[in-house]
Symmetry: C2
Subunit: 489 residues, 2 copies
């Protein structure tokens, strides 16, 4: 009777046939390597057929399918219609390219599948090491704290949360923003990234508390205007508590005068946060490093590793100079999470005490493996190469009679448009918008766009380690051809 | 001269030798499959040697290393000291196990490496389909919106942000919490997860605005006490705006009376958020489903797919009944992100408009592949199996004279302790704390612990698809042995 009770049929989600699942893994390796190795021969982007979209509306699967069939569906419907950012002629928004070893690292991380919220296991030490490496890259103090996060938006949110809680001057975590005796006000340039505003809204400060200071002709923050705004806010009884400096704006790659901003923040006893989502990594290029002087003085620093460091998504990082302030902003340890002294629940780094996530994947592994694979100097060279390519493109644009550069090129972003005599801005805007779509549809290249002073700009943001100069030649040639074709229509 | 200028040496982060990198990929597949297939024969957990910790403090690599060497370091120092949650006898906190196909899916996702912030590419449609599947699993309205996120903490934050912004009754995104005419107050049980408090603090409401209502003997929220608290807050001039219902508390797996909470929220015109981090998935078990009645009435619902659905970290989900409210809480579209009508920048789903992240990885792929691989019915059976195993363990505990059950077992969590005649709670707490550490150090099993009514509890949270009844037999046998050994010392 006892025996019979124990003979319960138990099933698991492991493969019914380990051998065939392993074979499928090998098939995937071959397919993905073939795909990546020949990526240059494929179109950057192509429209998704309606039939594929229709297949992706089928309802919830109830019964099992063989892993081979599942993979076949992936190859047919998904692998064929990528975003395109792994292609050498993708320069839209600011999206990284990834690498083959980064891809493999993600598999290893998912196989081990640890939770880096905390505890005593080796993955925790890997993240701690990676954070130390990040501090070293930016000449940031070794005693600072840090956290790997999903990306720049989250890194900004982490930094600004610490800023808010630290500078409030009262128990904001318990009492809330409503208890603030003064309105807490932040400053950054009109070119700062939308994630800063999102963070301010999330934190309950209200976007009206975010002063968007005008920029100069180089799209850098107008520091006099900022100082005036701070003085006005003080006079109005508000509490200026935080300055956001940009290290590489998303529109044009502008870098604010970070040293000057750090000085003002220090004098005004304000928090200094640097949003270096992609641009901060330019410190790895000896040529560019001086432009970023002052970065290392930030109270908090946000940057991405999946952009200009070419790691697969998602991985960004927040560093905070005052580790205790960082801990105090997020730490919350109920009984079921209390930290032990020995065993699995010990461990010196409880990363869940430094951010929002409690379940945290092993994103550190791809960073660890990639930095060891290439060494930081090579990353610096490839970053410099992207900047040189941007200068090369800017020269091609300047040399082409039908093209017009719309902003300086201080970093790796080139904003330009096709122009024609006798067309006003509105007509040019329409022409360039159509031109860009045809460029995408051609599968040849994928810039994105933005608006600068009311002008529609084709925008090339080059964080692509696969791009070569010949790719920019082809871009310019194609833009000229498509523009002239549109003029004839 | 022109030619010479073009002969710039350009390098990339792609493999110098594609063939050997591909071979390395095959090696990793073999190693990881060998590792996972034999995981039952390994210790659950073991201490990390000091030498390994020391190696993980080496400074930032400057020069390249061969990928083979990097992988060797991984095998030696990392693969050998896992957290243990992929092992059949790991039941700490609530951490999922992962699956081999999930691991492979992560590799495919990282190879394609798209950004699911938005745009017109197929990955976006995969996430949309997965969200539709999630709605179907919970009988949630098809018109609802949703978002895949890192996990339950983030899903709770998304839901509560929409709650705050929607129920404030004024332009909170622009004006901030300070402009609120009344204190905004939230309600949940004293057993609710710490991430709710973290969210309340982040949102600027202050933890004092979170009412922790007592629970009954079954650890469910005392609804009368909650109604009294709401009435008192109204009388004090506050604005009760949100009720949080628990679908599976982290301490004991208790499920609040969700239908009753939904009724009260509706009557009081409050938002109803359900934190179903792991417990909500019990709807997939026909036997458990009735206990979760009312879940489908939530205004927002948070749950994890990397816990009881065994997908690799990180993946959770937030569903919001009112899609427009969800969009209004997060949407922010600067020029460089404006949505097109054709080309890459078109697309009907801009997920960045529904959450904090702008860079969003392809976590949807592992969900898509896993649900197709197993079908939802099998997930339901495995979830039911975990619950049956918890009942089985509870019976073993009740049958063992030295063991004491410390809470009811409504779901998959068993809290118990070793006890001995003549020892008070403090002595038992110390004994059980040491017992747990020795259990970890033995490598046999890894429960975690919590405190219930001042009693230190060994806590088995079973979301492990690899566990079998024999594993719980071994657990009980080992706890009894270790406890008796400790008594003798």
């Amino acid at each position: 009777m006892q025996t019979q009770e124990l003979l319960v049929t138990e099933e698991s989600l492991d493969p019914v046939d380990w051998k065939s699942m392993r074979a499928l893994g090998h098939q995937m390796i071959d397919d993905m390597f073939g795909y990546l190795e020949s990526i240059r021969e494929r179109p950057v982007w192509q429209p998704i057929p309606d039939q594929v979209k229709a297949e992706l509306t089928q309802s919830l699967p109830t019964e099992p399918e063989s892993p081979e069939k599942v993979y076949e569906d992936f190859v047919q419907n998904i692998l064929a219609y990528p975003m395109g950012n792994i292609h050498p002629r993708f320069w839209s928004w600011v999206i990284g390219t990834g690498t083959p070893l980064g891809m493999l690292a993600e598999m290893l991380a998912a196989g081990l599948n640890p939770n880096l919220g905390g505890g005593e296991h080796v993955a925790i030490y890997v993240e701690a090491q990676v954070l130390d490496w990040c501090k070293q890259m930016f000449s940031y103090p070794a005693r600072a704290s840090g956290l790997l996060v999903s990306g720049g938006s989250m890194a900004n949110l982490v930094g600004l949360t610490v800023a808010r809680n630290t500078k409030a001057g009262f128990g904001l975590r318990t009492q809330g923003v409503q208890a603030a005796p003064q309105r807490m006000v932040m400053y950054g340039s009109s070119e700062m990234h939308s994630s800063i505003q999102k963070a301010v809204e999330l934190l309950g400060l209200g976007s009206e508390s975010l002063r968007k200071i005008p920029v100069d002709a180089d799209f850098q923050i107008d520091i006099n205007a900022m100082q005036n705004a701070i003085a006005e806010d003080r006079a109005a009884g508000h509490l200026p508590f935080c300055i956001v400096g940009n290290a590489g704006t998303v529109n044009t790659g502008a870098i604010d005068d970070l040293n000057h901003l750090a000085e003002i923040a220090s004098r005004e006893k304000m928090w200094f946060h640097v949003d270096g989502a992609f641009g901060a990594l330019a410190v790895l290029s000896p040529e560019l490093k001086p432009k970023l002087a002052g970065l290392e003085r930030a109270d908090s620093l946000a940057f991405d590793l999946h952009k200009w460091m070419s790691m697969p998504m998602e991985v960004g990082c927040a560093l905070v100079r005052d580790a205790a302030a960082h801990h105090d902003a997020f730490s919350l340890t109920p009984a079921y999470l209390s930290h032990g002294t020995r065993g699995l629940a010990a461990g010196s780094h409880w990363f869940s005490d430094y951010g929002i996530q409690l379940s945290r994947g092993f994103r550190a592994l791809k960073v660890w493996m990639s930095l060891k694979e290439h060494g930081v100097k090579k990353f610096g060279r490839v970053i410099q190469q992207n900047i040189d390519q941007a200068q090369y493109l800017a020269k091609l644009v300047n040399d082409a009679p039908e093209l017009e550069l719309l902003a300086p090129v201080p970093l790796n972003i080139v904003c330009f448009r096709f122009k024609a005599n006798g067309m006003d801005d509105q007509a040019l805007n329409e022409l360039n918008a159509e031109l860009l779509i045809r460029l995408h549809e051609s599968g040849i290249a994928a810039p994105s766009y933005t608006e600068l002073d009311g002008k529609y700009a084709l925008r090339v943001a080059n964080v692509n380690h696969r791009s070569r100069r010949e790719d920019f030649d082809l871009l310019v040639e194609t833009v000229r051809r498509l523009g002239n074709e549109l003029l004839k229509e």
